[in-house]
């Protein structure tokens, strides 16, 4: 299953998904969030929700010099934190901008498509679906 942005028009920019993501990792705040909501250049234009779209052939994994990002069977990648040295090549490789960064740990924040954020979205913007995911925030 993969996380998808199914109805961006209903996004009100509350960022409850971002808090949910870090909280699922047993931390309060935003430091570990693998999902990001920002305006489309001013609140009047609405929002984009940036999520990993679970590429079947993920460029982030290809870019990793340490082999720390292993392709997931359902698309996207899993991070081997011990193998990662924090070089940031994965972040550079993701055009969508869905590889987020934990500055304190100097490690990428990689979405595992668990759907915890979607269960907290109050407005039906996010859903865990059977891919392929064809939206990227819109």
């Amino acid at each position: 299953m993969q996380l998808d942005v199914v109805d961006i028009d209903r996004c009100v920019g509350c960022q409850v998904c971002m808090f949910a993501c870090t909280r699922r990792q047993n931390i309060a705040g935003l430091s570990k969030s693998c999902i990001h909501v920002r305006s489309l250049g001013g609140m009047e234009r609405g929002f984009t929700v940036i999520t990993c779209r679970a590429c079947p052939d993920p460029p982030c994994a290809l870019a990793c010099p340490k082999g720390a990002l292993k392709p997931r069977p359902d698309g996207g990648v899993l991070l081997d934190r011990d193998a990662c040295d924090g070089c940031g090549a994965c972040r550079q490789a993701c055009l969508i901008g869905a590889v987020f960064w934990d500055d304190a740990a100097n490690r990428p924040n990689i979405c595992i498509h668990c759907g915890y954020c979607a269960t907290h979205c109050p407005h039906g913007v996010l859903e865990l679906v059977k891919g392929p995911v064809t939206h990227a925030g819109q």
Partner: protein, 587 residues
């Protein structure tokens, strides 16, 4: 509070030099929670007695609370300063991303001191604090332009708040506000003018960090409970669906909507400017504050033909709320919703507080009609209730200040009426223009006796409406008791910076548990005591700055235009004020 909670960090900035420092103020947050409680203490520390609100010594304090970033709906920032409008306590709250941004940047409060020698904006990106040149942003026609330029020059899209002023603030118009995230405002009491006096165009703040909790499992369980309550609550649904404008219809039906400078309590026809009508004809988008699932911010899409070119249209996205429809609609007799939206957009352009501006123009219209003012004063404008095109020009002139009259209008209705007359219908409480509730004596007592002279201090309008619904008579002492008790509890909520829309969710019992999750062991009794203490801190400041109950009075108009339960009785108000003096026991 947990020892490693960054809430204890207070960021102090001196605008004269750009120097900043972070101080551990665990003492303050342990004694006063955060938000309003901490800001009131910082204001006492920083603001010299009797200081000119435009002097560099007048500080600007922003404070957030222990639940911000941890739980939903703790999403307000409290600003405190000495108000240039009332010459007394200035307190204004706003949401947007401001509260989460300050917390995620690693601070519990920000204290801005001094004045910059040239226009500047403050950039706080986590631990990086810089005062940046804003000379190229000063005097820009639309305040949103400055917001956009700063947005494009600063890091952290989605994680920051940009609080900025327009030309009205730059020119120190005493009811200029500060706008954050385009549609949220520290609207009331002139924070924008204080920014202007400091040469401070904007504050950009943001960050992305983690916060400590007492125990992660208990925290996560409680979070689910609060989240469920927020998304399932009927009150929250009401704020999401129609938003605050839902109140236009019932308050008008009751006869409690101030119309044409409170010459009446009912607007005819009201049908085009109700919450339902705005939603059906104009609602284009809803927005939420950061970490609030509700999404109560309603934005209208106004599509207008270009005046010069055929088949050319302009679409503007304009925020609207009950108080704005009251101030630029009912109060000015404007029944055309497009007209109200155009007026709101004009106030957004220059950064004026809509509530004060509407009341000021309503007074000016009546004074003009009664011959106190001439076309010479108004620069040729024929101010007439309902004529929004002329009000559009008048708003522009309040900002442009072409003559002495518009300079006086820029100082508020109390000042303007003291110069030109018409005090009988100058609708303000302690110098702050009245909000949109003529429900009865409790509402007006609430404005008079609330520390901010705001309808949000104590919701007196709720007491009036309950008495009307129950068919019971009000008693002056009982009303004051209720107002004070409610205002004291609201000090706890605004110290936690919990949005007042969520006051039904954040019961005392839930507050105790949420604070425990954040690492603070406070019980019911301590919360009650804190409410009283913070309330007294605020009144200590007010009395120090010259607040006198004996000088409080309502405009004659308030007594003459009947409220739903009959005229607001002078003797009732006098008795209540005497009882308040006794009860508060301060000089």
């Amino acid at each position: 509070m947990l020892a490693n909670d960054p809430l204890k960090n207070v960021l102090y900035i001196d605008l004269a030099t750009g120097a900043s420092q972070v101080r551990d103020r665990t003492d303050l947050f342990a004694a006063r929670l955060g938000g309003a409680g901490v800001a009131a203490r910082l204001l006492h520390e920083e603001c010299p007695a009797g200081c000119d609100p435009f002097a560099p010594e007048n500080p600007v304090v922003f404070a957030v609370g222990p639940l911000t970033g941890l739980f939903p709906l703790a999403s307000k920032t409290v600003a405190m300063f000495k108000s240039p409008l009332t010459g007394n306590l200035g307190e204004s709250h706003a949401g947007g991303r401001s509260a989460v941004a300050i917390r995620m940047a690693g601070y519990g409060a920000i204290v801005i001191r001094g004045a910059s020698p040239a226009p500047a904006y403050l950039s706080v990106d986590g631990g990086e604090v810089r005062l940046k040149d804003a000379r190229s942003l000063w005097g820009l026609d639309h305040s949103a332009t400055a917001g956009r330029i700063i947005r494009e020059n600063e890091r952290g899209a989605g994680l920051r708040a940009i609080m900025r002023i327009g030309t009205a603030g730059e020119k120190r118009i005493r009811y200029a506000g500060v706008t954050t995230e385009s549609y949220r405002h520290f609207g009331r009491l002139g924070l924008g003018a204080v920014f202007g006096a400091k040469n401070l165009k904007a504050v950009a703040v943001g960050g992305r960090r983690e916060l400590p909790v007492a125990g992660i499992r208990a925290y996560r369980e409680l979070y689910e409970e609060v989240h469920r309550a927020a998304v399932e609550s009927p009150a929250m649904k009401k704020y999401h669906d129609l938003g605050t404008p839902e109140n236009v219809r019932p308050l008008n039906a009751l006869g409690a909507l101030p119309v044409r400078n409170l010459q009446a309590g009912k607007l005819e026809p009201v049908d085009r400017i109700t919450g339902e009508a705005f939603a059906e004809s104009y609602l284009g988008r809803r927005l939420a504050c950061a970490h609030c699932p509700v999404g109560c911010v309603h934005i209208a899409a106004l599509r207008e033909p270009h005046p010069a070119e055929p088949f050319f249209y302009k679409t503007s996205m304009i925020g609207y709320d009950y108080e704005l429809i009251y101030a630029f609609g009912a109060m000015l007799g404007v029944t055309d919703p497009a007209g109200i939206l155009r007026l709101i957009e004009e106030a957004e352009r220059t950064g004026l507080d809509v509530m004060s501006a509407g009341v000021v123009l309503a007074w000016a219209t009546e004074a003009f009609g009664s011959g106190l003012l001439s076309a010479e004063h108004t620069n040729g404008l024929d101010l007439t209730f309902g004529d929004w095109q002329t009000y559009l020009k008048a708003l522009e002139l309040i900002d442009r200040q072409p003559n002495r009259f518009y300079q006086d209008l820029g100082q508020g209705v109390a000042h303007a009426s003291s110069v030109y007359g018409g005090t009988e219908y100058a609708l303000h409480c302690g110098g702050n223009e009245m909000p949109g509730y003529h429900t009865g004596p409790a509402a007006h007592l609430g404005f008079l006796l609330g520390a901010r002279h705001s309808h949000l201090d104590n919701a007196g309008y709720g007491i009036d409406q309950k008495a009307l619904a129950d068919g019971t008579a009000l008693d002056p002492a009982a009303v004051v008791d209720k107002l004070m008790a409610e205002e004291q509890w609201r000090q706890v909520l605004s110290s936690l910076v919990v949005c007042f829309f969520a006051r039904g969710i954040y019961s005392k019992e839930l507050v105790v548990r949420a604070l425990a999750a954040a690492g603070s062991g406070l019980d019911d009794a301590r919360l009650d005591a804190l409410g009283r203490e913070i309330y007294r801190d605020k009144f200590a400041f007010k009395f120090r700055e010259g607040f006198k109950v004996s000088e409080l009075a309502l405009a004659g108009r308030v007594h003459r235009t009947p409220a739903p339960g009959g005229p607001v009785d002078k003797e009732f108000i006098a008795k209540a004020l005497r009882y308040f003096t006794e009860k508060i026991g301060m000089p």
